[in-house]
Every structure is written in C-alpha cells, then in structure tokens.
Point group: C2
Chain length 339, copies 2
C-alpha cells in the first residue's frame, strides 16, 4: 500500500484562544501492519471539549498533547488489514486512532481496539451516546449526582453529547431534568425532542441575576444534582440554587479553557449547603463501563435515548470543526466523517 494517510498535527500551543494556526495538515505514506497489528480505516473522528485542555502545556487531565504529533482522539472505523487473530477485514471497531484517516494499532494492547455490533446501534454512536460521552454522562449522574425519583437534576451544555444523555438518563430515574444551553434552537430541542422538563438559554441571560432568576423559575424545588460541563457564571448560578446535601459532578469547565481561570464566586455555599463536589474523568472508572454501555446501548437501540450529531467532512475540516465546538457552534455530538 503506497497510499497516503492524511493527519492533523498540533504545531503550536494557543496563547488565549485556540486557533487554526495551532494545527497543520500533514501527509504521510501509509504503512503496513506488523505482527499483532491491525490497519484501521477511520470512518468517524470524535471531537471533544477535553482536547482543548490537552493543547496547553500545563497540568491537565493527562500529559499534554505532544507538538508535531497527530492530535489524539477517539475514532470508529473498519479493519482493512489484520495481523492479529482476533480481527479480520470488515470488522467494525472503536479505538483511539487520532485525527487521521488511518491508524495502525497494536491490537493486543488492552483498551486499544474493541469490536462493536452495528446491528442496532449506528457505528458513529459508539463515539457519542454509546461511547465515551454516554459513559461520562452515566458515571457522573449515577455515581456522583446519585439521582433519586422526584429530585431535580440540572445539566449544562444540555444539547451536547454528554449533556443530552445526562438529562434523558435522569428522566429514566424519575427526576426533573433541567438543561442549560445556548440559543432557543438548542433549548427547544432539549425540551421538545429530548424530553427535558425545562431548558434555560444562557445567551438570553448575560447578567448573573437574570440567569439566576431563570434558573430559579425552572427549579422551583431547588437543585439536588448538578452535572457541570461549563463552569464560570453558569456554575455560580447553579451553586446558589443547590439544596442541602446536593451533589455536583464536575465534568468540564469549557468556559475557562481559553484563558485565565474563572473564580467561583461563592465557595462558602459548599459549606452552608453541605454539598459534595467531585471532579472526574470517565477513563479512570473502567469498572462502570460494561454496566453503562449495556444500558446506553439498550436505550439507543429502543429509541429511548436520542441524540443529534454535527458532522464535518474530511480530515482537513477537523480544526475548524473543533474550534466551532469550543464556541458552541455544534449541535449535539461533533464528528468528522472521513469516508
């Protein structure tokens, strides 16, 4: 195979906002799999907010993304060639192949590759509702927010891949689900299509008092669990509505990724209301994966867990699609289609 594998590399780190200059399209000759390896043609690449944190050279979840290397990220695809006994051409697989058209994977390495069944769940959903974002929603909601019937769960970035699953899962537990999203379209989708009880358009409430007032109206009994994807003024508003013994799952603070940290205005409320706040990364909780995937797959397969995708085309579109995601221009799970 003398084909070309097109890749996106990180070539510089952002100072302030990330920009297209931080990335470069690179063409590499496509190699062939060695013993125990599998060549995968990527069909979809996943773009996720956590990637912004990795672009900085600072302590974040993980080692920073290396410069002049392929951007890391989740992928789904189809096996093209295999020198590993468990895989054969045509197998649908989920992996962590990065921002490129192909990857060669050491298939024996635990967690490197996983075959998936696409008879009831579309391949792309394994990057969204039945993938890392879905399991993230499941873990943070079930293990940190601990929803109980009749309680109120609030989730920010509610129309996104994680947030939309959080609210729909909360509904299956008998909770009141309240979303926060940017724009009337997203809010209407969240309530009408996803079945949330209410959704607040944060763009219509730029003033903290106005946001708080809107949240108060949407949560007449206060907030028992908060699944936080955004941080900043949105977290401040929710914190002020938390009931005694409330739980906050801190999953993302996208509002602060680009610049200086955004202070939390009223930390004393954690004490006054005896709250529990927990930051987490789903990859560190493999123990829940099979239980979560089973429920998520069942819900998607039976149409009870809905999701939306924004799909960019071609590897060269990945940087702009990613920057748009950081600005909230996507609607639902942001993917790049590569085939």
């Amino acid at each position: 195979m003398a084909e070309i594998n097109r890749q996106i590399h990180l070539v510089s780190r952002p100072t302030g906002e990330a920009s297209a200059d931080n990335f470069r399209l690179v063409e590499q000759p496509l190699g062939t799999p060695g013993e125990g390896q599998v060549l995968v043609r990527h069909h979809f690449l996943s773009l996720d907010p956590y990637m912004r944190g990795r672009m900085n050279d600072a302590k974040s979840y993980a080692q920073p993304q290396e410069l002049d290397k392929v951007m890391q990220g989740g992928t789904v695809g189809v096996v093209v060639a295999s020198k590993h006994p468990d895989y054969k051409p045509g197998d649908n697989v989920v992996g962590f192949g990065g921002w490129q058209e192909y990857s060669i994977v050491d298939a024996g390495m635990p967690g490197s590759l996983r075959k998936v069944d696409t008879s009831r769940v579309p391949l792309s959903a394994y990057l969204g509702a039945v993938g890392m974002p879905g399991v993230t929603a499941w873990y943070g909601l079930m293990k940190i927010c601990e929803p109980k019937a009749g309680q109120t769960i609030v989730v920010s970035a509610a129309s996104g891949a994680v947030g939309s699953a959080v609210g729909q899962l909360a509904k299956t537990r008998g909770c009141r689900a309240v979303g926060i999203a940017g724009g009337t379209d997203k809010c209407e989708y969240v309530t009408r299509e996803l079945g949330f009880d209410a959704c607040i358009d944060y763009k219509a409430h730029k003033d903290p008092k106005s946001l708080y007032q809107a949240l108060k109206e949407a949560t007449p009994d206060g907030v028992d669990g908060n699944f936080e994807n955004v941080g900043g003024p949105i977290l401040d508003a929710v914190l002020a509505r938390m009931n005694t013994f409330g739980r906050i799952a801190l999953c993302g603070m996208i509002s602060g990724y680009d610049g200086q940290p955004i202070p939390l205005q009223q930390p004393q409320l954690i004490l006054v209301s005896r709250l529990r706040i927990e930051g987490f990364i789903v990859g560190e909780h493999p123990e829940v994966r099979s239980e979560a995937m089973k429920e998520l797959g069942m819900l998607v397969g039976t149409g009870k867990l809905k999701y939306r995708e924004t799909i960019a085309s071609g590897i060269e579109s990945a940087p702009e699609a990613f920057l748009g995601l950081l600005k909230g221009r996507n609607f639902g799970k942001q993917l790049v289609k590569l085939v």
Copy 2:
C-alpha cells in the same frame, strides 16, 4: 431560689464585622425546674466560630440566632436541682445551655443533656477535644479526608480546637500532618507540642505566591487530604498543592464570615486533579459520635491527644472573647469559665 441568672443576648445583627454592640448582658431571675426538668449550673461555655454564621439573618447551617434571646452554645456544668429520675445534684453534664450562667433543661428531650465521666477526662474537654470540636475533627478527617498511611494531610487553624485534633489524629494513621496557623507561637506549639511534621505561619506569608511556596516546601509529596477551617487565600494555596484524587473536608470558612464571600480562584483544579470537596456539619452525622468519642476520650485520657485552652472569666467576658476568637486571638479551645 431568687437568684439571678446572667445571660448574653444577641440584640442586633452585624453589618460587616461583628462587634460588642451586637450583644447585651441581661439579668433574669432564676426559675425552678418543673416536672422532668433539671437545673444546671454552667461551669464552662464553649465559644465556636460557627456562631458567627448564625448571627447573620441569612441562610447558614441552621436557623439564625434569634434576636433578644440568649445566644446559643454548648456548655458543661453540674446539676443543681433535678425533677428528672436520671439526674441528681452533683452530676456532671454536657448540654447546649447557651451564653448564661444557668439553664433549665427538659432532660427527657433526646440530645438535651448527657452525663459525663470526669475521672480521666477534665470536664472542660467535653467542650473541646472530647466534644463537638473533637468529633468534628474525627468526622471530617476519617470520613471525608480518608487518611492513608504515608499520605499528607493539611489542616488550617491548626492550633485551634478542631485543627489540633485533626493533625494528631492524622499522625495516629501514619500520615504526614502539616498545619497552617497564625504566628510563630502557634506554629511552634503545633510542631513541638502536638507533633505535627510542619506548620506554616500564614501571617508571615501575606502574598499568595509566598504562601504557596511555603506550603510547597512543607508538602514535598503534595497534599492528599485537606481539612479546611479558614477558606480564602489559604484554601486557594492548598488547592494548588492537591494531589490527584485528593479530598477536601470543608468545615469552616472563617475568613469570609464577616463580609463578602471570598471567591475560590482556581475552581478548575477540582476537575484537573479530580478532587472531592465536601462541606459538612458534625451534628448531622450522629452515627459516628460514639466511635469518635470513644477514641478521642481514650487518646485524651492517655495523654496522646493534647489540647490547649484559652479561658475567659465570667459571662460578661463572652462577647469580647468571642470577637477575639474570630480574630484568631485565642490559642486552642476558647472557653468562658463561669464558676
């Protein structure tokens, strides 16, 4: 009995700093106990930082302290007269008699009164190391910080009633105990007498960077558990030293009691380091009390849990002693001796 019972009432709420004007000394004729009641002569009154929160008319741990009523607070004393079969004159008792010289207690009400054994533990210790502050230390450390041998535990207000117990308990679990306190005297006491491994004098580090640097030197392996009594810049510094999966027990935020809330500067660290932060009030965890009191009593009785007391004399001294406590002028447990 036509004796006089002197009391301190709260007569106005502070705007900003609390002051002596907020209190008034009131003389009342002493009543006699009715059926099922016990008359207690208070020997010591406990002064605690949480009382400041109750002086405000805002949501805090509990209902605000009522105006023109006796300030609430823990007391130890001796039964003078009893119309309850379980109590007789001379019994040593712990109760919640408030800022006054005597109280008449409905002894049958659960939690109202408890007889204590002063053969190995001094009566006043039931307001400190073997009382509410000790159990507070025990709960927050054991149930939230979850100390493991070899880990580092940091506690602020380290020479105080709660903080001193936290560090000494952490040492019994094989931890490195690091205190933060105000002044060289307090820091020397914390390390030399209480056996902490290190103590940082926050008054010598008014600049956040300097405070962080001192903390860094005292915690070469980072911080695994933080028992927070102070908040503000001290919490900011500790947060930046927290190890992955660290735990923060939020017990007090005395630095913010007097005025505007003090923002938390870098909340994103909760996510980056996957921390768990939990606010708590010991009174809501009665399930641990007997286990905690048993260990604390044993440690005090055998000289393994040391404590210091600052004792003001006479009920009329309570307001000034309390204001001093809020300024950190006490050294160890602040008491008012009434007999």
